[in-house]
């Protein structure tokens, strides 16, 4: 068994989860404050990647970043490498597809945050950044974690857009998902199943870790009085 897909999948999933984590949280934070109609419109745009078949999403990404498109040309001229059909192309695919999950979940969490805590932080002279990371985020921990877990799982499982943007090149762009798909498609069900198990193992590790983390943070959650 060639372990490249594991390595590649992990780096793509981790990097895109990190990207999605921050971009999703910031989008959620700023959008949560807006007027509901504006929110609605932005929601539609940001949730778009969810309502389209991933392959079609991949196609749009390709139209945007392809080597013959302005951005792709500029990137090639500047960095001497193509944005598509490389291992990191999977990052674009996974990031865009996983983004709505983080965004929407984080927004839900932020909107149920008790602003009094943030006010009290402000009157204590704490910077908004500190309040954001040390008060708001931990208080919204559960929602944020749900979003992160979903985004990570989605990034790990992403197949359609990745296969479009990065292609399935064994040893170069293959991820676990595209490998599973190809193996399965070429009737190598056994090996495909092994890779499925690998994916399950990864998500098991992540999910268990997240649950342990949660437990540590919630010792004796009861409100006094």
């Amino acid at each position: 068994m060639d372990w490249f897909p594991l390595y590649n999948s992990l780096r793509i999933a981790v990097i895109s989860s990190v990207l999605v984590f921050f971009s999703g949280i910031f989008a959620a934070y700023y959008i949560a404050k807006l007027h509901p109609v504006v929110k609605g419109v932005l929601d539609v745009i940001l949730t778009l990647p969810m309502v389209l078949p991933p392959t079609v999403v991949g196609y749009f990404i390709l139209l945007l970043l392809g080597s013959k498109r302005p951005f792709g040309i500029w990137f090639y001229n500047t960095f001497g490498t193509k944005l598509v059909m490389n291992w990191y192309s999977g990052i674009f695919a996974a990031t865009i597809v996983a983004f709505p999950l983080m965004y929407r979940t984080a927004r839900g969490a932020f909107e149920s945050f008790d602003e009094t805590l943030s006010y009290s932080g402000q009157t204590l002279g704490l910077s908004n950044t500190y309040i954001f990371w040390k008060v708001r985020m931990p208080a919204c921990r559960q929602g944020i974690m749900a979003g992160t877990v979903l985004a990570f799982a989605r990034a790990l499982g992403e197949y359609g857009a990745t296969s479009m943007v990065a292609g399935y090149t064994p040893g170069k762009t293959a991820t676990i998902s595209t490998t599973v798909y190809q193996l399965w498609r070429t009737n190598d069900d056994l090996l495909a199943f092994k890779w499925v198990m690998v994916n399950i193992a990864i998500s098991a590790v992540v999910l268990l870790a997240v649950n342990m983390l949660e437990k540590k943070n919630t010792a004796g959650k009861r409100s006094a009085g």
Binding site: Y59, L62, L63, G66, S67, K68, R69, G72, K82, V84, M85, S163, M164, G167, Y168, T169, P170, G171, K172, T173, Q182, W184, R185, T186, N187, D188
Partner: protein, 266 residues
């Protein structure tokens, strides 16, 4: 030691065979490192069109190859794409279109002709993009039953071959039209094989790309694919080699096929 990467975009139906040949080719040409990208021919074509690096393209049908070939009929190559080096283009393999049925064949379908009868409830085809889909439609058109089947909603389209084979093996459908190679590797029961009266020869064309970084190495590999050693691998899964002396004839067929394809398109 300097390694040359040769990038090969190949139809997914060739995954097993090409991977096997890759091992063998290492001994022949240790300095060449073959980098495969497997996908459905349509996806590969899109990727090439969008500027993916590729030295050698092996399609599962003439259509996708023609769409990238400036010398092909403009009604097929609608966008006037000029990606492949026509001089290196060749017909590499032949596949057969077969009718596969579930294990116990409850609907008792024995031939392509049976598809027009009441025995059939649901038939699975690949969609047009899956090359076998185009051939399947040709067969049904030649039998004069395509429109009726569609009107009766007796056709379901799978988006890739595995989908079709699975639907057949799981008995979700009464029959499916696929390639012999796919039926072989999926271990399906084949009840009929399309002859030349029903559909044209199924050809896997190959060509080196015009802007290939390693055109010579790619050509060399393509040549290797036509050797006896490679042929053995291909034939072991049900492909037939297109003989060099068939070349003339094949050319003609491919010409004719382009026309049919053009008709379907409009």
């Amino acid at each position: 030691e300097d390694q040359t990467d040769v990038v090969v975009f190949a139809a997914a139906s060739m995954t097993e065979t090409l991977t096997e040949i890759q091992e063998m080719y290492k001994e022949v040409e240790p300095n060449v490192n073959l980098v495969f990208t497997f996908d459905s021919s349509g996806t590969l074509k899109t990727q090439i069109e969008e500027g993916a690096d590729c030295d050698l393209f092996i399609s599962a049908a003439q259509k996708q190859m023609n769409q990238l070939d400036i010398t092909a009929d403009p009604s097929v190559n609608e966008d006037g794409l000029d990606f492949i080096d026509d001089t290196t283009r060749m017909d590499l393999l032949e596949n057969k279109v077969v009718l596969a049925v579930p294990e116990n064949n409850q609907a008792d379908i024995q031939s392509f002709e049976d598809l027009g009868t009441d025995k059939l409830n649901l038939l699975c085809l690949g969609n047009e993009d899956v090359p076998v889909g185009a051939y399947s439609e040709e067969i049904l058109t030649n039998l004069g039953i395509l429109d009726q089947l569609e009107a009766d909603k007796k056709i379901t389209y799978g988006s890739n071959v595995k989908e079709v084979t699975t639907q057949v093996s799981e008995g979700s459908v009464d029959a499916g039209i696929i390639y012999a190679t796919d039926a072989y590797s999926a271990g399906l029961t084949v009840v009929d094989q399309a002859d030349s009266t029903l559909c044209k020869q199924v050809i896997y064309p190959a060509a080196v790309l015009k802007n290939a970084a390693h055109a010579d190495e790619a050509k060399a590999f393509l040549d290797y694919l036509t050797t006896e050693t490679s042929a053995e691998v291909f034939e072991s899964v049900g492909f037939t080699m297109v003989k060099a002396d068939d070349e003339e004839e094949t050319e003609a067929v491919s010409e004719a096929e382009s026309e049919t394809a053009a008709e379907t398109e409009s």
